[in-house]
């Protein structure tokens, strides 16, 4: 049976700052839930971009928030919450070792129907993204990390700067250069592929 669970995304209370929520979360777990909803997708996207495996990203996301919850009393005034949270996420990702996961049992595999093919438009989109991924792979790890933190995790320049020990302006400059480099390499690659 297909199932879906959603956190209600619509009506939100007036936005509270991360810092005040983190403080409130020491007394009221509901405040931590707000922080969690705010960052769950970002942390998962970031960890997926590091592990390339959804199940591993699930496990690590759970570990990150579990550790954050446990360490919350030690968070106080340690700068921006997002930077602190992603410090945990970076450490978890660095310690990650892929496991060989159980294979589908033979009879289950035999009973599974074949997946339907993707539409053409989806194929073209995927090919374009594949070429971008190939360009990304040529960047060094620090540059990739910068892009992950910005475009997977959605951190601000200031948050990234705090996390990486660089100034906000330096982060913005580095990202601008990176995007320009991607633009020339990927768009050239993409055009050539058409």
């Amino acid at each position: 049976m297909r199932e879906l669970t959603l956190a209600e995304p619509a009506t939100q209370a007036p936005a509270e700052t991360d810092a005040s929520l983190a403080q409130e979360a020491l007394r009221d777990p509901a405040a931590f839930a707000v922080l969690y909803r705010r960052y769950a997708g970002a942390v998962h996207r970031y960890l997926y971009s590091r592990t390339h495996n959804a199940a591993d990203a699930d496990d690590l996301t759970a570990e990150v928030f579990t550790e954050a919850l446990k360490a919350l009393p030690r968070y106080r005034e340690r700068g921006q919450f997002a930077a602190w949270l992603f410090t945990i996420a970076c450490r978890k990702a660095a310690g990650h070792v892929r496991r060989l996961r159980p294979q589908v049992a033979l009879d289950e595999a035999a009973l599974a129907p074949a997946a339907s093919p993707d539409p053409l438009a989806e194929t073209i989109r995927q090919e374009s993204l594949t070429s971008l991924a190939a360009v990304l792979a040529r960047l060094d790890e620090d540059q990739q990390e910068l892009l992950r933190l910005r475009y997977a995790a959605g951190l601000t320049y200031g948050e990234i700067g705090e996390l990486l020990g660089r100034s906000e302006a330096a982060v913005k400059m580095a990202l601008r250069r990176l995007v320009q480099r991607l633009k020339s390499e990927w768009e050239g690659h993409d055009e050539a592929a058409r």
Partner: protein
Amino acid sequence: MKQPGKAEFSPRVEGALAQLFAAGDPRPDFVAGLERQLLAQANESRQATVARDPGGCQSRNALVFLFQRRWVQAAVVLLLAIALAITAIGPQRVLADILRLFGYVPGIGFANLEKTRVLVAPVEVTRDGVTLRVLQVVAGPDRTQVVIRSEGLPREDQLRPAGASLSPHDLEFAGWLRLPDGSTVAPRGYTLRWGGGSLEFPALPTDVYTATLELTRLPLVPARAAPENWQIALALQPATGPLVTALFPQPYRPAAPADTHHDITISVEQVAHTADETVLKLRGTWQNREWEIMSLDGGVYLPALRDDVGHVYGWAPSSSSGSAVLREVVRIPEPTAGPTPVPQPPGVEREFAFAPLSALAHELTLEIEGIEAQEPASGSFHVTIPEGAQVGDRWPLDIHLGVAGFPVHITSVRLYEETLRLPEGPMQRTVLGFDVAEVPDQDGETLAIFYIDSPSPAFQSGPGSRNMGEHKMGVSLALKPGAQLPSGRVDVTIRGASIVLHGPWRVGWPIPGRGGAALAPVPLQPAGATDTHNGLTLRLLELTHTDRLSALDVDLQGAPAGVQLGQVRFWNARTGRNEVYLEDDRGRRIEYGSTNTRWLRPDEPTFQAYRPQAGAQSLVLPPVDPLARRLTLSLPAIDVIRPGSGSFDVTVPAGIGLKTQPNDRPRASDPWELSIALQVAGFEARFTHAQLVELRDSVWLMLSPALGSGPAGGPVLAGLCSPHFASPSGRDARSGKDIAIAEGGPCAANPAFEVLDPASGRIESGVYLVTFTGIAETVPGPWRLSWEIPER
């Protein structure tokens, strides 16, 4: 939820980056499930912190502060009342009264029903043949939960073919509670399934006892597929002890709920039985503070729940979350520093949902075969990369280390390319892989894997692999993207290990209200339940009926020497359907594949690997109708193994290379033509092409077309049995079955073998000799075995 950064420099590039990374968006059910875990954990931590707060000046201040809170005052009054009651009327009776305010609420879970209002009985509305039913409402001091289900809807797969994804329109489901004063309360979260789910609303005002649930559409049901704009009136009552007892299954705690091995104690904290599930809340605590144990589901096997009749209950989708495992993780916090810290062992709690209990059972036993713990480990070694080393090179090492107390011997290192199978396409990277000799178990512990890293700027931690069954593991460093492969010394550090601690942990308990010994079902051996095709007779050897399943054993009767039943075929390739079923004399059909309870014979261990073997085959199907008097088992085809030896050569051309393949396929060579035709046991086997494929850190030769793909109707050659592969240099080449490239069982329809020489790390070209000692033959049916059921 924090969204990916907005475009500022190049909308196209930054948009594509956001799309690329959006592949990592978590599933909504994961997000909501983890939120529930964290909230449970936060609540537990808070309570534990309050309970453990040590004395002293600061604590007195904290106590004064706490006591100013009304709920603390109320709690203290309640505790005093409980203490007085215990003194006055005895602990057992008080405990029973308190427990009555706890219940297992289907669709919600274990719940404290103090200060709640509940729906006294399910209510329903039917429109155009579709019924919306509200099964339960629990309106508590902090939230209101509503459980709904639907009946009469078209099947989900009729409206949404297999593989079709949810469209945004499917999510245009909205619901709210309308209160007597006309105001509405919007949900703050929900778990949805086809036409139903659990909706969570904020707490209702304390004086509200009626409300109307209004839904724009049934959950996940597309527009216009069913009636829309539903309204259903709800009437609530305060939950009292007798009401809770009457409405909800009463959770219980076994009398001797724990078992300890390796200083890890597993205890069964709560058990609840409903008609649809058995739910267990387990707690694990351990003494070694260096261990990190995130899971109680073992390193090798899942926890098993078995009864004294012979059922092994499989994991079931829980009514409250839909997940087999309710990931209600509670990490018991470390004791805080203070003048008199109370030592608390670390621990983890989980809930597991199993298939519903048999009415025949009197006792249950939970078994956990193994538990995996992470622990810190240290150590270092180095490897020297020769000048000019390249992918495919392998060189021997003889490094002996102690890792977490285990002797580890690294025997060689090799450079290989790994293809990461990303959703957006394959990506390759170079890996420095270390081969580790088999590490022997020690004191019931297995070193599952250890983690390495390198201070070298060129490398980062790479993938690890492990095969617990064969005690094999590999660890690696991955070359950072863009980095050049360095030559010379590379230092490697060990930073942790994963250990599997073997039990089994076994906790057994009598099921409350079921006295005496279990009534074990009697196995039957019906006469004449046979069918014959192509000179082979299949017979029903034995069957057992219970209220949870039907277990059947079939085998060949009077088969010639050396001929054995290989396997039952479930899938009919011609119709594209699973066609194993039981049919009764009332025309009811019971399909294979819809039961998740196993049948264990008295001499069988609970935990056993799936290894298909020739001979009698066991099938487990759902239970039959008690009124049925005659049954027929229908099987689309069977595989029979016959003696039949033969051999042939396969040549791997020199200089053949692998190429990256499109569409997320592994690297492979171009296929080359072969002309292999053998006559064996009256069949002709023909292979026309071969291809090398890179899988699981090695390179494999795969022959095609697969056997068994000939014209349907008569018997078909389905595989070569017990194949052996000898390389040009005479070494035994691994069979693809070893890594599940070829199918399980003793026979392979598409023989595959390893062509990468483990010593050199290079593809060994030349002539390979393939020999086999038997063949598998598919004999189509349908095979129909019928028998009368004696009076029960």
